[in-house]
């Protein structure tokens, strides 16, 4: 057992966990943040994507203790109160989900993708960047649309702020 200490969605949290505990299980079971899903459990599907120190990471392929000391953002940390994050709003607007199981991971991947491409995104880039996220409802078309729309909204926001 070790003490795992993290900053999760702006809150400092800590707890004892076995060293073999995966980050996704620590988030779900110790912290009750069940928005992050376990899909394939083999680093392929991306349902478990969270941000660790600002980078999208598959939380089923990282030990909680490896992340200790890091800053984590999960799907629960994106919205500002009742206001959806622009990526969440775009998924809603463009019907970027059917059953919704892959959606938290899709949104965390999309947010990371948009942050890494402040110059904007095109469809080919979005599809290539979604390599590690699988949607079994085959809803990619609208997911891509939602990400392109969110990317536009977010770059406009940045220009205004500047």
């Amino acid at each position: 057992m070790s003490d795992v200490s993290l900053m999760v969605n702006g809150k400092r949290v800590s707890g004892a966990a076995e060293d073999r505990t995966l980050l996704v299980h620590f988030l779900r079971e110790n912290l009750g943040l069940t928005g992050t899903h376990v899909g394939c459990d083999t680093s392929q599907c991306g349902a478990c994507v969270v941000h660790v120190d600002g980078k999208a990471v598959k939380s089923c392929t990282m030990l909680a203790i490896q992340a200790s000391g890091s800053t984590i953002v999960t799907i629960e940390g994106l919205a500002n109160g009742a206001d959806l994050h622009p990526v969440q709003a775009a998924f809603k607007e463009h019907h970027g989900l059917q059953c919704g199981f892959c959606t938290p991971g899709m949104i965390m991947t999309a947010t990371d993708m948009i942050n890494r491409h402040p110059e904007g995104l095109d469809e080919a880039t979005v599809r290539a960047e979604l390599e590690g996220n699988i949607c079994r409802c085959t809803g990619y078309h609208n997911i891509v649309k939602a990400i392109l729309a969110a990317s536009k909204t977010m770059s406009k926001g940045k220009k205004k702020a500047a």
């Binding site: 060293d19 073999r20 083999t42 680093s43 991306g46 030990l63 993708m113 590690g132």
Partner: protein
């Protein structure tokens, strides 16, 4: 996953001490080791995490010499501006590994120490004539890769960096398995002051290797057309559910052609 004790190394010296604990394994990005532990294919008693050691991170380019710290992630290799100028082929190769989340964690040192027969980096290291630097010695790439998941690393020896001379021209092309996205065949072509070298991953039944037939054809004329009619023997190539040895042999020539065209572009 079986129970394990985690240690975070503060330095390479610290890691070298910690790795003597029980049946310890070195952990870098964990993109192979953690899945192997989850399926109980690996069951180390202890893990020594190298990923936070600052001295193992970063890309340095000095003149024609490129040095990449072992704990540098694929993401950081792919986006390094100095490397994109010195050896764009290697930055491009890094951008093709796994997916964005995997590239954020996986490291060059972890990839070469694991020497997966379908990994991308071993082909680059071999074709570039790279030197693998450990905490004990320097090993030439052609002495380092020993077969499927085998290297010349001794127990507890830690890869600290890789180093190579930037080639005049180079490119990497891979044909992916449509499901796993691993290379069915990946070919790295490099033209440097010592001539042309061509290394192949994903295809050899003993891991990464150099293709003499393709090297001989390109030594005379470094052009895609020089490979017209060149036959790669299927002997010693893998046959599995994804592709036969003959199919892989043909793909090697095709990928090499594409790589040469890209290197000349």
């Amino acid at each position: 996953m079986y129970s394990v004790n985690y240690h975070r190394a503060a330095s390479v010296t610290d890691a070298a001490k910690l790795v003597k604990t029980g049946d310890a394994k070195l952990l870098s990005g964990g993109m192979t080791l953690i899945p192997a532990m989850k399926t109980r294919l690996a069951a180390p008693s202890d893990l020594v995490d190298l990923s936070r050691i600052k001295e193992l991170q970063g890309v340095k380019v000095s003149g024609k010499t490129v040095t990449i710290g072992a704990a540098t992630t694929h993401y950081d290799v792919a986006r390094d501006e100095k490397l994109k100028k010195a050896c764009p082929a290697l930055a491009h190769l890094a951008s093709l590994i796994g997916d964005p989340a995997v590239r954020h964690r996986g490291t060059i040192g972890g990839s070469i120490a694991n020497n997966d027969p379908a990994a991308d980096y071993p082909a680059a290291m071999l074709a570039l004539g790279a030197t693998i630097v450990t905490n004990k010695r320097q090993i030439a790439a052609d002495k380092f890769f020993k077969g499927l998941f085998e290297t010349s690393l001794k127990d507890g020896e830690i890869v600290t960096a890789v180093s190579f001379t930037a080639p005049a021209k180079a490119a990497y092309e891979k044909f992916r398995n449509p499901a796993s996205r691993y290379a069915i065949v990946g070919v790295f072509v490099a033209k440097g002051k010592d001539g042309v070298s061509v290394a192949v991953t994903g295809a050899g039944d003993d891991g990464v290797f150099r293709s003499k037939e393709i090297e001989a054809a390109l030594a005379k004329n470094f052009a895609a057309a020089a490979l017209d009619g060149v036959k790669v023997p299927a002997k010693n190539l893998m046959t599995d559910i994804h592709a036969s040895a003959d199919y892989r042999a043909n793909l090697i020539a095709v990928m090499a052609k594409r790589a040469v065209a890209a290197a000349n572009a």
